[in-house]
């Protein structure tokens, strides 16, 4: 199987977010960047499928030069190849722009493939747009928020989360799958993997060499402002015998919060 796993470099989930640029962008200095957590499940699933069925796993990132670190991690986990599509534009928050660029890369630089794996959303932009959009552009089926994946000859089934239930979806290959937590447990890199990854060359392409027009790579999203929500104020805190605090609790719900 020829499998592609798409990964993004994002601030880790412990990060405190600060605003700069007159409220137009998120300050990146002082943040610790990692592979977007859901993308790790995508990479792990790609590796497991390859181990079961043979084939090749390629990790692809779109972003600045610094994203090479994230691709190096994918190689250390066991990906065969990695590619960076260099894009110095600040995060545009336009999922369709990203999907258009990644689809152009697949059309221009890659032969037939079986699966495109993504995280269900990047942690940060929280858009959850690119997998479905690339599927539409390439005329492929999609299954999003997947917690179980089985792939056979030319077709597969995936289980995805919906409200209070799970949907079992049958799909034809090639297909786009986006991974949810629970799909697998991502492996740690081994020392041997890290050493081997260091020796590999990661080709760097630019958005400019993919044959897209300026219109196609322009963002449809105009960021008007980014704000930090005002902090909640601490309310009343009580302590004492459980029976007393429980009664005060219910009184609060009824009289102050008016929720029951």
């Amino acid at each position: 199987m020829n499998i592609f796993a798409f990964v993004k470099r994002v601030p880790d989930t412990e990060s405190r977010i600060r605003i700069q640029d007159g409220g137009k962008s998120v300050a990146e200095d002082g943040l610790n960047f990692v592979i977007s957590p859901y993308d790790e499940y995508a990479v792990e699933e790609a590796l497991r499928l390859k181990e079961a069925k043979g084939g090749k796993v390629t990790a692809v990132a779109l972003g600045p030069e610094e994203a090479l670190v994230v691709l190096r991690k994918c190689l250390a986990m066991g990906a065969d190849e990695a590619v960076l599509i260099k894009d110095e534009a600040a995060d545009s928050y336009d999922g369709l722009r990203t999907a258009t660029i990644l689809a152009a890369y697949l059309k221009a630089k890659v032969g037939p493939f079986d699966l495109l794996l993504f995280g269900k959303q990047s942690v940060g932009a929280d858009n959850a747009q690119v997998p479905s959009m690339i599927a539409e552009i390439l005329g492929l089926p999609q299954v999003n928020v997947v917690t179980k994946l089985e792939v056979g000859d030319g077709a597969g089934t995936a289980v995805r989360e919906i409200e209070g239930a799970r949907e079992k979806v049958g799909f034809a290959l090639p297909a786009v799958i986006s991974a949810q937590k629970g799909l697998n447990e991502p492996r740690y890199e081994t020392l041997r993997g890290i050493m081997a990854a260091k020796k590999k060359t990661i080709p760097v392409l630019t958005v400019g060499e993919l044959g897209l027009s300026a219109e196609e790579t322009a963002s449809r999203v105009e960021v008007l402002r980014i704000e930090i929500p005002s902090a909640r104020k601490a309310g009343k805190v009580v302590t004492g015998p459980a029976a007393d605090t429980a009664r005060q609790f219910v009184e609060f719900l009824r009289n102050d919060a008016k929720v029951i």
Binding site: L96, Q129, I226
Partner: protein, 325 residues
């Protein structure tokens, strides 16, 4: 025109879709624009009255044998066909599992911008502005989308339900011309999770547990409490999920779900930054924690410093009494 896609599950229009219709009515009024709704596949026209009553005079019913079961490829084709005909300024739907699956495919088909999981929509300087949380709510981003239509998914439980007024309306049935060959993924089965009809993103009350619960078996205490309350669901912190005590579907926070219930009850949750990001949009927060320094108590409207296992039994009794009155 603002066009709202209505999600139908088990024959009923979802409450979150009606919230989107309500917001559509408010914004269309400001824009001097009309409001219409669309539904795809099987639909009982008797339910249309609820949609008309919230301000959508026209309800398009898109029909085709290939729309009987939801598929992103089928539904996106049908809606794109309708959009080409009625040329809406905006297409909105609820940010549910279906909405989040469908909207980006539709946006790619229509080559237009999409704002995901909006918590506020405004009409200013002649255009729509969409506000949406980023970093699971650590920041709020307001964007405008270039071109028409603009697409948006609106987060459930955030937009107020409008006041229903009996109003005339029409259901316009349209045969959707679909290329069935384009539908390459189909739902084969829906497996319901027992006792979890309501997802945390849709619940009005969330009873949530963390590391302080000490084990999977104690989530039963929270389920019992949730069963007493209307439209309540059980939530969990990441450490409870990672300990294997409860399924990830219930996780609230940055690698789980971002929620905005009327009431969030946190039992034994310390309040790590990832968790606070996911639930700070709750209207009222109540927390029970042994540690008086727990960060959750700094954001709670009401906090109890105490042992949750001691507080829960009298709390349940007091709640039962209060609800019976």
């Amino acid at each position: 025109m603002i066009l709202v896609f209505l999600e139908v599950r088990e024959g009923k229009i979802k409450k979150s879709s009606l919230e989107v219709v309500s917001e559509g009515a408010r914004r269309a009024g400001e824009m001097g624009s009309s409001l219409a709704a669309a539904v795809a596949g099987s639909f009982d026209p008797a339910a249309a009255a609820d949609v008309h009553a919230l301000g959508a005079r026209t309800l398009y019913h898109l029909e085709s044998a290939d729309l009987a079961q939801y598929s992103s490829q089928g539904f996106a084709q049908a809606l794109a066909g309708l959009a080409a005909e009625v040329k809406p300024k905006a297409i909105w739907m609820a940010a549910t599992a279906m909405g989040k699956d469908l909207a980006p495919r539709l946006a790619a088909k229509l080559k237009c911008g999409l704002a995901t999981e909006c918590t506020r929509v405004a009409f200013a300087a002649g255009r729509l502005e969409y506000t949406r949380p980023i970093f699971a709510g650590k920041a709020l981003m307001t964007i405008a989308l270039k071109g028409e239509p603009s697409l948006a998914t609106l987060r459930p439980n955030v937009f107020a339900m409008g006041e229903a007024k009996a109003a005339p309306g029409e259901v316009v049935r349209k045969a959707a011309a679909l290329n069935a060959g384009e539908i390459k993924a189909r739902v084969e089965e829906i497996q319901k999770e027992q006792g979890a009809d309501l997802d945390v993103t849709e619940a009005e009350i969330i009873v949530s547990g963390g590391r302080g619960l000490k084990g999977a078996e104690n989530f039963g205490l929270l389920r019992e409490l949730a069963a007493l309350l209307p439209r309540a669901a059980v939530g969990a912190s990441r450490s409870a999920v990672d300990s294997g005590w409860i399924d990830h579907q219930h996780q609230v926070g940055q690698t789980g779900k971002t929620v905005s219930p009327n009431l969030y009850l946190a039992f034994g949750i310390s309040g790590a930054i990832q968790h606070l990001a996911g639930m700070s949009g709750s209207k009222v927060i109540v927390a029970v924690n042994k540690d008086p320094e727990a960060p959750i108590l700094k954001v709670a409207d009401f906090g109890i410093v105490g042992d949750l296992f001691e507080v829960l039994p009298p709390l349940k009794d007091e709640l039962k009494k209060a609800l019976a009155e």
